[in-house]
Symmetry: C2
Subunit: 341 residues, 2 copies
DNA sequence: GTTAGCACTCCCGACAAACGAGTGCTAAAC
DNA sequence: GTTTAGCACTCGTTTGTCGGGAGTGCTAAC
């Protein structure tokens, strides 16, 4: 257990390091006006904190740098959320006030504003649609062989897929099929669609639709749970502003990872409620060993539907990031829920 | 006008520099077995070529490096297209052989394969849709205030937009409207839609639809020419493999530019038919002064609908890139045309 | 016209010295 | 017992010097 003074000093060191990016020496700390001890005292405490694993020394005659354990303690026990400037609050609120044509636009703006306000990289996982309910389904033939299947959800999201039509199918048959689907499947959550297809639609189809086997098969393909969630990445290059990433090799590893959608999704796939912080080596990806990731979920009608996250160096302004993320996720949840519930 | 020998030497120097990334000395050239002159002779020719502006010298006792003018001459007069390996041809062909659900998927794969085969950054401007013809239009009400308008083109592309419904509109009215639209606008190219709306639809609507003014206004908004073309970027980080971009500052400028869609579009906005090459300082953007961009258009039924491009260092393997790009753009055009004409 | 030879330029890496930020320890002060 | 002043020591960084080497331009001979 750390003494009050140790906490104070640890806090001072990390604060300092976060803003300077340089190892912090005892003198620097003793000169701070919230600290009333000489550098020698600080030195002793620092040696203790190092022994306990909260600090590290790059080399003998250098100052101290927080370890992962040190940051962890800082995040869990020392920081208090920073309050945002009126300017920043306004910028964020504006995102939700804008007129929207697509949900995606809001999510995209969210990512942009996050990156802009924090000066770190923002990653947003677009709203999960499994829970969305079917509002309408349409099949539009393009020619003899192909058609587009279109699904509209109650949130106004539109998914579409190209289909191969069974040979020699009559347009009237497609119309019949669409009618059956619309009468049976409205308000069904997307994840149930395939199941319902067999339970309820198959029988109906056999009775009324020609070539029902081929049509069924075609439908099955098109109702696949939507592959690939949408991921929005903004400000990926912000990491290069950080002095510890002046090295192309390091930056390359990170940016290469950010280029891959599946890796981004993995990055945001964090269990737990509320704000989650993963610091440095707590990440299992090698490229992320010197980065921290702060995430939280956003909700639609009480259910988590997506994740917003900030990626930055371990030496991140945690207080600020947590405040921004929290405020924004709440706003987003509220907006979505108001709009679509 | 360059002598035959000067061309030979210039070609040798650029070839060498492209592969070594180091200033090329006279000895290196004289040792090549397609060159039968001593290093002293080469030195004389090099001095001449420098005076003519085709070469540059980083400092007195260094070898020579091609200037923008040098590369330009090389691209225009010296290279012959490189033929691709069977492996590479196969990789490219596979993209077009895959089953497709959306055009976008093909475009995306195109970008991926381009970047993969060339080891440079690939940028693809997704197919322009103004020329696409309307296949169907739908309006799906979500609740009392909102609806989604959906437009399907003859190429199977689906666009959608959220609409605010006029207050107290009756669902039947919307249906009437959709019927009018579908009967009048099928097979009209997208860019004509707004114009037709006023010429033909407005009158019809006034006769049959209540609250026609509000509805007209709403429609007008939704038929806006689709803002924001789709841009696909792949392998942006490849630039960091180049020895001349070991410097974070340089890379940052480039990657920041690549993060902005409008800049990407500007980058590919090159007049002219066939393969176009812009070398180093020929680019008007500062961040691109040390890069080259090779572009070409792809076609649907004889009309250019999009652009594919490769971005790399000025020291780029032009021969190879041009071959790949040409082969791929032809394949893409052929595939699109076969599929949708 | 071509080439061997040579003096010259300039970058680069190695090595040494000076510097300074910061430490750990000791002993005195509180 | 805790705090602090003082001091020797460590080690990375900066600066300067020096030799080696790659490459050039020029001259004179072939």
């Amino acid at each position: 257990m750390l003494s009050e003074r140790q906490r104070l000093i640890l806090n001072a060191i990390i604060d300092n390091y976060i803003h300077s990016a340089e190892p912090v020496g005892s003198r620097t700390i003793s000169k701070r006006n919230d600290i009333g001890f000489s550098s020698a005292t600080i030195r002793n405490e620092m040696a203790d904190l190092e022994e306990l694993g909260y600090l590290e020394q790059p080399h003998t005659s250098a100052g101290r740098v927080p370890s992962t354990k040190g940051y962890r303690f800082y995040v869990d026990n020392l920081i208090r959320p920073e309050h945002l400037s009126e300017q920043e609050l306004n910028n964020i609120r504006n995102v939700f006030a804008e007129r929207i044509n697509h949900i995606e636009q809001v999510i995209e703006s969210t990512a942009s504003i996050l990156s802009q306000v924090t000066n770190y990289t923002a990653i947003v996982l677009g709203p999960e649609i499994f829970e969305h309910r079917l509002k309408a389904i349409q099949i539009v033939p393009l020619n003899e062989q192909q058609a587009v299947a279109i699904i509209v959800t109650h949130t106004g999201r539109v998914e579409n897929k190209l289909l191969d039509l069974p040979k020699g199918i009559h347009p009237g048959e497609i119309e019949k099929l669409v009618n059956i689907l619309n009468s049976k499947l409205i308000d069904v959550p997307l994840w149930q669609l395939r199941q319902r297809l067999y339970q309820e639609i198959a029988g109906e189809m056999r009775r009324h639709v020609e070539q029902y086997e081929e049509m069924l098969h075609m439908l099955e393909r098109s109702l696949n749970p939507e592959e690939g969630e949408r991921v929005f990445l903004r400000g990926a290059t912000k990491i290069m502003n950080q002095p510890e990433f002046r090295d192309v090799e390091k930056v390359k590893d990170i940016l290469e990872l950010l280029e891959q959608n599946d890796q981004l999704i993995r990055l945001l796939d964090v269990p737990g409620e509320g704000i989650q912080v993963r610091i440095g080596q707590e990440n299992d990806m090698d490229a992320m060993k010197e980065c921290s990731i702060v995430t939280t979920s956003y909700y639609l009608g009480g259910k988590p539907v997506g994740v917003v996250g900030i990626l930055g160096p371990t030496r991140m302004e945690y207080g600020k990031v947590i405040s921004v993320l929290d405020y924004l996720a709440r706003g987003l949840s509220q907006m979505l829920t108001k709009q679509f519930e």
